[in-house]
């Protein structure tokens, strides 16, 4: 493994995302509510660039107490990144697909040191 500095933590917006090609390993770094998350830019579906897609709130089916539906609503808590190849979505905090938890992004070790964001990537 190799440590790679991808720049100042202050250069990220919150919520925000940057994707880096670290000598062949591509990593998406996300900042959400003050926390950093890092995922390989490689979709478990067909290897598409999952971290380079749109950032969207999770959609939920809004079911009333009497089991009728109000239709779809934005989640107030979960934000997803969408793979632009075919639309698989992943929770930015956990890397997990909303329907099937077995479908998930691969995590990358990240630390913030002296104001810089460092990734641990395959050498």
């Amino acid at each position: 493994m190799k440590d790679v500095n991808v720049g100042a933590a202050s250069s990220f917006t919150d919520p925000g995302r940057k994707v880096f090609d670290c000598g062949g390993t591509e990593v998406g770094v996300f900042l959400l509510d003050g926390e950093f998350y890092a995922w390989e830019n490689r979709c478990p579906h067909l290897d598409g660039p999952a971290c380079q897609g749109k950032i969207v709130p999770l959609f939920t089916e809004a079911v009333n107490e009497d089991l009728t539906s109000r239709g779809r609503e934005f989640s107030k808590t979960q934000t997803n990144v969408v793979c632009p190849w075919h639309g698989f979505e992943f929770d930015i905090r956990t890397g997990v697909h909303p329907t099937d938890a077995r479908v998930r992004l691969k995590g990358v070790k990240l630390r913030v040191e002296d104001g810089d964001v460092w990734l641990s990537v395959r050498a």
Partner: protein, 425 residues
């Protein structure tokens, strides 16, 4: 951390931009080029038998070939009024393919090209980028919005747009790129016009077959079509049924989400046409006519084989033209792979066995649509032999479309290196 490490590590890092509808196809499909390099760069031939024109950006070019003055003037008026694809019977407000912008390539292409003012050149350049990135030698072009024309109540619109599209293809596009090949769009609501188009355009060397856009309510076994099928059989080029979506069909209007309509509709029309084709014993009447069934995935084929075999044994009197079981005729037809149902490999392996995929399956990408499949959708299947993969990815298509088995695509390593050299992001 020592400063020099920080600096040297930073030097190796490159930032990648968000992917949008403006993204260059080569950057969008960068991962596909890597897959080509690692998985199938040594394959002798890769043919993508279903890729699409997204009409909006190029519609003015096609309308330039419109032979009916009244329709041309009407279309130009609509274009000036802001309608992006005049005369097309699709409701713009019902267009959900791009998943609310989640899949940007469905809304394009909006990328920059080197010769924006040269007619036909932008389309050719963009498609060539997709072929090079996916490691494809030949790509068969289909329209997108025009797939619905069979439901247009104005029959003359289908006829004149079919002619304009075929002229655009044969006069403007194909001469600019030998790796692009096309099919004649048959305006199937008027058989005389279909025959005229077979005669007029069928001989073009880059026209490799004829397509019936399957979204329509026309029984394919009707006697009016028999002379047309004979003509097509004589050309040696295949007849290709291309499926499509249609939300206005009364049954489908019960479905409240695009996903539901899309999942059923693309299969529905090919189910109906295939059933009519087989039960009326058209394979017995046209034994040399090759048929190809496109963009319905594969799961529907064993389903229909089982249903029809089961019923034909009990009700032979209603299908007296058949000399064999329906599934036996269907095993001699050809199928395109996309959208390949890959969520259960056990089922998929069984399906491929049933349809005799090694000889009958043809790889298709459906690029640039939202559910496209790169060639890796085939190369990563663990149950296929290397020879089966080679056949599915190109050698079967060479037989069906009469293509030379000769590599014309660039090396994947060169594609990757070229893009890295002039990338701006």
């Amino acid at each position: 951390m020592p400063d020099e490490l920080k600096t040297s590590a930073l030097g190796a890092v490159r930032e990648l931009k968000e992917i949008t509808a403006e993204t260059d196809t080569r950057d969008y499909l960068r991962a596909a080029a890597t897959q080509a390099h690692k998985q199938y760069d040594d394959y002798e031939l890769i043919v993508d038998i279903d890729a699409h024109l997204q009409e909006a950006r190029f519609w003015h070019e096609i309308l330039g070939f419109m032979e009916n003055d009244v329709l041309k003037q009407t279309a130009e008026g609509q274009l000036a009024g802001g309608i992006r694809t005049p005369l097309i019977n699709m409701q713009p407000g019902m267009s959900f393919q791009a998943l609310g912008g989640r899949v940007p390539h469905q809304s394009g292409p909006r990328e920059a090209v080197s010769e924006p003012g040269k007619p036909g050149a932008a389309f050719v350049e963009i498609m060539k980028r997709s072929m090079d990135s996916m490691g494809v030698d030949y790509q068969v072009i289909f329209p997108t919005a025009m797939l619905h024309l069979g439901m247009n109540p104005m029959e003359d619109i289908e006829i004149y747009l079919a002619r304009a599209y075929c002229r655009w293809l044969t006069e403007l596009v194909l001469p600019q790129e030998k790796r692009l090949i096309g099919l004649i769009y048959l305006p199937f609501n008027n058989v005389d016009e279909c025959e005229k188009m077979v005669r007029e355009f069928g001989g073009h060397p880059q026209i490799v077959g004829y397509t019936i856009c399957a979204v329509r309510h026309k029984p394919v076994h009707h006697n009016q079509y028999m002379r047309l099928y004979s003509m097509i059989q004589d050309t040696g080029k295949p007849l290709v049924f291309h499926a499509g979506p249609h939300w206005d069909d009364p049954s489908f209007s019960q479905l409240n989400r695009f996903i539901s309509m899309h999942a059923l509709s693309f299969v529905h029309y090919n189910l109906i046409h295939m059933t009519n084709w087989v039960i009326n014993a058209l394979p017995e009447r046209f034994p040399k006519l090759k048929t190809v069934w496109v963009e319905s995935g594969l799961a529907w084929v064993p389903f229909l084989m089982q249903r029809l075999d089961h019923e034909v044994l009990m009700r032979q009197s209603e299908a007296p033209g058949l000399k064999r079981l329906p599934s036996e005729y269907m095993q001699e037809m050809f199928y395109s792979s996309q959208p390949l149902e890959r969520t259960d490999f056990e089922l998929l392996a069984m399906t491929m066995k049933k349809i005799k995929a090694e000889t009958q399956l043809l790889y298709s990408s459906d690029w640039p649509h939202w559910d496209f499949d790169p060639p890796s959708s085939i190369t990563t299947l663990p149950f296929l032999s290397d020879q089966a993969k080679r056949n599915i990815l190109g050698l079967n298509a060479a037989r069906v479309f009469n293509l030379p088995v000769k590599r014309v695509r660039p090396r994947a390593a060169d594609v990757i290196a070229d893009r890295a050299a002039d990338r701006v992001s």
